[in-house]
């Protein structure tokens, strides 16, 4: 039993915390959402230079990490800072899928991703809600290559991506796990359109329409029709990342709230002296520790067999969703009016934390899934 970070991870955490603490400002985040890129290019290149993107990949894939605890370390710090760089979209999902399934030529793109090139993962569709196997987009044979038609929704960082990993059906029905294939499609491909927009809690996403996009045979990633297990595993890693991000957000929110309870005076004393509020904050602390343990559980089981891994995915995401709501609502409440403002630091963090439940499956989705996986 050892819950200490390895020396390398401790160094990564320290330097990342220092870097983000020095670099990220509320203005930077606000401008990033407004900017065309939808994230901060300064921050992104800084992270690439520090090797943070590389930490998401194994040595074999050209990185120097890639394990669950690497993800946990990186994303807790990202969350603490309230940043929304394309680390999950490009590093964990699209880059991760290329690393796991790609041909030698495609794997060469991983090196670019580690260097800061941005890929998007165009997977979710309008009717899918959170179901990973819901794919209506089709890929049909077209001469030597493929023709892709369909609509992808809320594709994060779509506007900034050079290329997308696109899921499409080459067989089976809409909700079948079998018959899903992955393709690497350049963002400037003909007949590919992006409607880009800002997101609640920062960053941008896009609706990606493929209206008969043609790609060559070598755009196919991995075996035809057999991509689902890889997608599920990538989503498991992304869930680990976003849960760690949520934990970082919770820690920052807790810090802000405790400071505020000490500073804010009403009735001639700091409001933190009111026992009613002390107990509420104590509960928040307890629940955040639960969240931390849940993240550790998931990070430690990312590399195990599928059912075990997925049970942890759903357990952790469910718990994080519940704790996130508690932390957001209590933090706003204990702040009073100031906690509801866009300008005060809590506003952004609270929105970002709330939106965690709308990515990769919400509390109920994972509760139901946990029950199903436990029965299996």
């Amino acid at each position: 039993m050892n819950f200490e970070l390895t020396e390398e991870r401790q160094m990564l955490q320290d330097s990342l915390r220092r870097y983000l603490g020095d670099t990220v400002t509320p203005e930077m985040l606000a401008n990033a959402t407004e900017s065309e890129a939808g994230h901060s290019e300064t921050l992104w290149s800084g992270l690439a230079e520090m090797g943070v993107i590389g930490a998401l990949f194994s040595e074999e894939d050209g990185g120097f990490g890639g394990a669950g605890f690497d993800l946990a370390v990186v994303f807790e710090e990202i969350g603490r800072a309230g940043a929304f760089e394309p680390l999950i979209a490009s590093g964990v999902l699209a880059g991760g899928l290329l690393a796991a399934e790609g041909s030698e030529a495609q794997k060469a793109r991983v090196e670019e991703v580690i260097g800061g090139a941005i890929l998007g993962f165009a997977h979710s569709e309008p009717g899918a809600r959170y179901d990973l196997d819901h794919v209506e987009t089709t890929a049909t044979r077209d001469g030597d290559g493929w023709r892709l038609t369909g609509r992808k929704t809320v594709v994060e960082h779509a506007g900034a991506a050079d290329a997308f990993v696109v899921s499409a059906r080459t067989g089976g029905d809409t909700a079948d796990a079998e018959g899903i294939s992955l393709f690497l499609v350049p963002a400037d491909a003909e007949s590919l359109a992006i409607r880009d927009y800002p997101l609640n809690g920062g960053g941008r996403a896009g609706e990606v329409t493929l209206d008969g996009v043609t790609v060559s045979q070598d755009a196919l990633i991995g075996a035809e029709g057999a991509a689902f297990p890889a997608i599920e595993e990538a989503a498991a890693r992304a869930t680990c990342a976003i849960c760690a991000e949520a934990l970082g957000l919770m820690e920052s929110i807790r810090g802000l709230t405790v400071d505020y309870l000490k500073q804010r005076k009403q009735f001639g004393q700091p409001i933190g002296k009111f026992q009613a509020l002390q107990h509420r904050m104590a509960d928040v602390l307890i629940e955040i520790e639960q969240a931390r343990s849940a993240v550790i559980n998931l990070a430690g089981h990312l590399e195990t067999d599928r059912v075990k891994r997925e049970r942890h995915v759903s357990a952790t995401k469910n718990l994080i969703g519940r704790v996130a709501r508690l932390v957001v609502e209590e933090a706003i409440q204990l702040h009073g009016g100031i906690g509801m403002t866009e300008e005060y630091a809590l506003g952004h963090l609270a929105k970002r934390l709330t939106m965690v439940d709308h990515r990769f499956g919400d509390t109920d989705y994972h509760l139901e899934r946990f029950i199903r996986l436990s029965a299996a």
Binding site: L199, K265, M340, E342, M355
Partner: protein, 398 residues
């Protein structure tokens, strides 16, 4: 024990319904139902329609041009207007200042201001809170110093809802530093067009600017704008708060929010089936509905007591807490119901006539905004913590 309405009350409900059918513009009810932005002109239009019928002064006695309705009638009116998706009545002049002037204002003030509230000539806002005076309202620092026939006012008010639309603000100001803080407060009416008044918007986490800071620098206010006596403002302020808390339970709002949630849960699909059939979601929906059913009866119990002439007391604190918690739960479930479409923030789509399409269903962004915006319900009007203090003192005598 009889849970039914009398025949007169039923007839009254029909009358309200018929009126809404005929007079509530579809343009306005559509905007309310779909969570679009309401403009100042929208509120004014609705106020004018109600006023033409004599139904704007819902809580006012007949002698001042009000409806003279009892608590049950007001409740029925509230239920029907919310069900019909009418814009809410902006409360500052009608539910807050009006009753204070009727009880404590001079004859001149009543004659001057009350008709102007009904006619929509003045839009009032509430200048109670300050950066340092929230829950501890008696800590207000804004000063009013008498100089001849004027007060000179200096200070800052904050969280002023819809102050950007207002012509007039009623303020708690400090006129004395002697004795207890409550004993040096006066209630002053200030014309927002006076030099030295500056309104700055505050954007909330839903992205909207519904509240403001109001800065007051050497603002000259005629002494006749003092309500009642100098240094007695705390009494009037508390009287106003009891009126602010009428209809505090928000049963009508909860009902429409629940209806909206059901509609969305029927349209959203989870695992290929309507979300409303998902047992996990259905259980939560049922839970909040069960709470609401009981709370609606608690509300009716206090309304019946009020109609029988009992003064509202600490029960309003109970209703405030339960009512806001239930509405916030419905808002949370609605946000959850829209799934990944809680993410896109395409704010332009909320403007009437906008040619910007929402991303995903048009109910998604309003659902997220309502969730964030209604965090206010447990903060303002006396926070839920402050209400618990009241209950533990006034009812439990702890």
């Amino acid at each position: 024990m009889d849970l039914t309405y009398t025949d007169e009350q039923k007839a009254f409900r029909e009358e309200v319904r018929a009126f809404l059918n005929e007079k509530l513009p579809a343009r306005l009810s559509d905007k309310v139902a779909t969570g679009k932005r309401l403009t100042k002109a929208d509120y004014e239009e609705w106020h004018a329609i109600l006023n033409a019928r004599g139904w704007l002064g819902v809580t006012w006695p007949k002698e001042f041009g009000g409806t003279g309705w009892d608590a049950v009638q007001r409740h029925i009116f509230e239920e029907e207007t919310t069900r019909a998706h009418a814009p809410r009545i902006v409360p500052f002049g009608l539910n807050m200042l009006g009753p204070v002037l009727m009880k404590y204002g001079s004859k001149e003030q009543q004659d001057h201001y009350l008709p102007r509230i009904l006619n929509g000539e003045d839009w009032w806002c509430q200048g109670y809170s300050e950066p340092g005076a929230g829950s501890d309202l008696a800590a207000v620092k804004t000063t009013a110093v008498r100089e001849g026939d004027h007060y000179i006012v200096n200070g800052q008010k904050t969280w002023t809802t819809l102050g950007q639309h207002a012509d007039m603000i009623f303020c708690l100001v400090r006129t004395s530093k002697e004795g207890k803080p409550q004993e040096g407060i006066s209630f002053l009416l200030i014309d927002m067009n006076t030099p030295g008044v500056e309104v700055r918007p505050i954007v909330l986490i839903d992205g909207e600017a519904e509240v403001n800071e109001v800065w007051l620098q050497d603002v000259k206010v005629p002494v006749e704008n003092l309500v009642g006596e100098e240094n007695k403002g705390w009494t009037y302020a508390k009287y106003l708060l009891t009126h602010e808390r009428t209809n505090i339970a928000g049963v009508g709002f909860a009902n429409t929010a629940l209806e909206n949630l059901r509609r969305i849960a029927r349209l959203e699909k989870s695992g290929g089936r309507p979300l409303i059939e998902n047992p996990f979601f259905a259980a939560k929906l049922a839970q909040v509905e069960i709470d609401l059913m009981a709370m609606a009866t608690t509300n009716l119990r206090t309304i019946a007591a009020a109609a029988a002439g009992q003064a509202p007391g600490a029960e309003s604190s109970m209703l405030k807490i339960k009512g806001t918690v239930i509405r916030q739960e419905i808002n949370a479930l609605t946000r959850q119901a829209v799934g990944p479409y809680a993410l896109p923030f395409v704010s332009e789509a909320l403007d009437e006539g906008s040619n910007v399409e929402p991303v995903g269903p048009d109910y998604a962004l309003p659902a997220t905004q309502a969730y964030f915006n209604n965090r206010k319900l447990s903060i303002y009007g006396g926070s839920n913590e402050v209400q618990r203090q009241i209950i533990s003192k006034a009812i439990l005598e702890l």
